[in-house]
Symmetry: C2
């Protein structure tokens, strides 16, 4: 064993770190909004239909409303003749009563007239003045959408926790639920720490670099439906950092990047410990090891590493599940997962989870994943070139070439 | 064969219909915007770095900048002693020149002082007044991020057509690209046709139904980054419809729902043909068969079926790829795809593609897909209950229980 003079006294395993984070976040409150603005929001209530859908028996096709029994025996060779006594239109209640030997012309969506119990498709008829010939029999109920066939009044149609998709917005419209209760979006304050940081696009001094993380983190927060608030760049001065972290009370979460390691300027974990409680410092993942987490003013505060990829990987592993839980979603990363064949072996260190960025492509009938070669955690291009990532868990030393691995896809 | 008196004279195959649609849409123009607002937008230019990243050689760890050769032979049993001549800080260019036998204390991210060619991690040292003991050798370049290691000036970092993710926003910040050219979002007019339609939440008359489609279509347009403009409900009156469809010139695309079949009130295709050119009417898919497409004022106009599921399925099959192409994305549906085992056989009709909604869940180590039982295309709940869909192509009669199928996942 090497002499360890400083450095992280203990790396927390990823699963343990995530459990600690999740023990400090809970679902936020809710708000009521108009259903047509709610795409992507998460339902905070069960939705029960106020109506039957469809609200009346209606024709599912263009054709003729009939008494099914009248058509029995009809065939291409031997048609049944019926008398057309009128037509019913969409949007208007019919006054007809269909009797034996009669038919009423009907449009798709029009209410079925009384007396009729089925609709013959227009394609199976031949019209002839006031008469039609029917060339195929129908059974009772055929081509009729009955009242409540799709949804019955008081039926549960959407569940709490559903993230609303286009079809769900349609369901809200269709069942008359025009005001919906959805989870509040988490307000997330973001600060970049480091005296060497400059606003992107500014000319850099000799030892200066552009602030990357406050922008990529703001985008990451937005990508999981959080509301990012960039509070700017804070130099590595404990007093200034304390002043800003006290603002945690105004947000649902705070993210800092930089100053998370154990060097002399890596002050964020110390400041968190001073203002509130530091719950872990150092996570057994790579990249993203120098990650700390605690609570200030009862609000979760993350100290993420300064290197851009380390920041975003730690965000995916620990922050994204927390932001999802706050909105009533499962506390996972929410990325779609696919299985792919690994094109090159990846090695890891026992006791540490490695997050390996990969490119994914189809080869013939299968997906293959090509690990991206990287030299350090500072290499953001490893992530912009990637389609997703695989996780090599703590208890394995890697995956061999040709292994089938689970890839989580960025989006 | 049944006697076919009316109905669609010819159903266009899905692939042919899509080709016709795509032949009428092209990538829209672009606009320049601030990089930090561009999450989810599609790059309309290649991005080339304006700077080296990192912009100078810097330390990747906390430790001591040294001349690597001085550490050769160091071990846990036999340390090498070096004289600490100062320290370099983040954000400040060092004036030091490290000579043989010397070390300079250095923080992660600080510029490497001249003379030094490697950094010894603090964990592998013991400090002692103005001296350190080094317990492990380093090779030249060890723990140093060299200038341009991640990105070199003038290197292509992001390609035209990339939909910007959080890491890409970070890359734009990091390379000084603060104004980006992205594809314009398509403006899509949406109208619902049908005298029987009422605004959602209003009390319905006896033969009336709530307008569902203009809301679900607006959400669907937004879900693929289009800008929806709901123009309201238009009764089935050709003159009114003509007046509204002439507004096509103001939008990049028009979507109508209802009035797309061949009944007497299904007037949209006729109006399209009258004002411009109708390119197909009737697609061999289920649901969504009564779909028509044409151009008016050189703009693509879709006539989608009135039944809510038929509308959204046809949107996925034909409109979504078109909206993606308009933004410079691949002209596909853009849904993530997974393979799953089919839990129940599905049947289809030869010559028609069936879009079967499924629920997907993990069972042990595999995904399984459970088809949702439906009675008609009006059953919106078949889509709100679904996690995704499978397509049974025209040339097969179905898939057997236990088949491995490709599921596209809604999101």
């Amino acid at each position: 064993m090497l002499v360890r003079m400083r450095g992280f006294p203990r790396y927390t395993r990823l699963a343990d770190a995530l459990n600690i984070v999740l023990s400090k976040v809970e679902q936020l409150g809710s708000e009521v909004m108009s259903f047509d603005q709610a795409l992507g929001r998460v339902l905070a209530e069960d939705v029960v239909s106020k109506v039957d859908v469809p609200p009346f028996d209606r024709s599912a096709v263009d054709g003729y409303a009939v008494r099914a029994a009248d058509t029995f025996g009809a065939s291409e060779l031997k048609s049944v003749k019926l008398r057309v006594v009128g037509s019913v239109d969409i949007g208007i209640t019919s006054k007809f009563h269909v009797r034996g030997g009669e038919a009423v012309k009907i449009m798709t969506g029009a209410p079925l007239p009384r007396g009729a119990d089925a609709v013959v498709m227009v394609e199976h008829t031949r019209a002839n003045d006031k008469k039609i010939e029917v060339f195929a029999p129908v059974t009772p109920g055929k081509n009729v959408s009955t009242r409540g066939e799709d949804i019955k009044v008081r039926e549960l149609v959407l569940r709490r926790g559903q993230q609303l998709r286009p079809q769900d917005i349609g369901m809200l419209a269709s069942t008359g639920k025009i005001r919906v209760r959805v989870s509040r979006r988490p307000k997330v304050a973001i600060l970049a720490t480091g005296g060497e940081l400059r606003k992107p696009g500014k000319r850099l001094g000799k030892a200066e670099i552009a602030d990357t993380n406050s922008y990529s983190l703001a985008a990451a927060v937005a990508s999981c439906s959080g509301l990012p608030y960039r509070l700017g760049i804070i130099p590595d001065k404990p007093e200034q950092l304390r002043r800003v972290l006290r603002k945690a009370v105004n947000y649902d979460m705070m993210l800092t990047s930089g100053g998370s390691s154990v060097g002399e300027h890596d002050i964020v974990p110390d400041v968190i410990a001073g203002l509130g409680k530091l719950l872990f410092h150092g996570v057994a993942i790579r990249p993203g090891g120098p990650t700390a987490f605690g609570v200030v003013e009862d609000k979760p505060v993350f100290s993420l590493a300064g290197f851009p990829v380390a920041t975003l990987v730690a965000f995916d592993m620990l922050v994204r599940p927390a932001l999802r839980r706050m909105q009533g979603l499962p506390a996972d990363r929410g990325y779609p997962r696919v299985r792919a064949k690994l094109m090159r072996k990846v090695s890891s260190t026992l006791g540490r989870a490695d997050i390996v960025r990969v490119q994914v492509r189809a080869e013939g009938n299968e997906l293959v994943a090509e690990p991206i070669r990287v030299t350090g955690s500072s290499v953001l291009s490893s992530m912009t070139k990637a389609d997703g990532f695989i996780i090599v868990p703590e208890d394995v030393e890697g995956f061999g070439e040709g292994s089938i691995v689970e890839v989580e896809l960025y989006r």
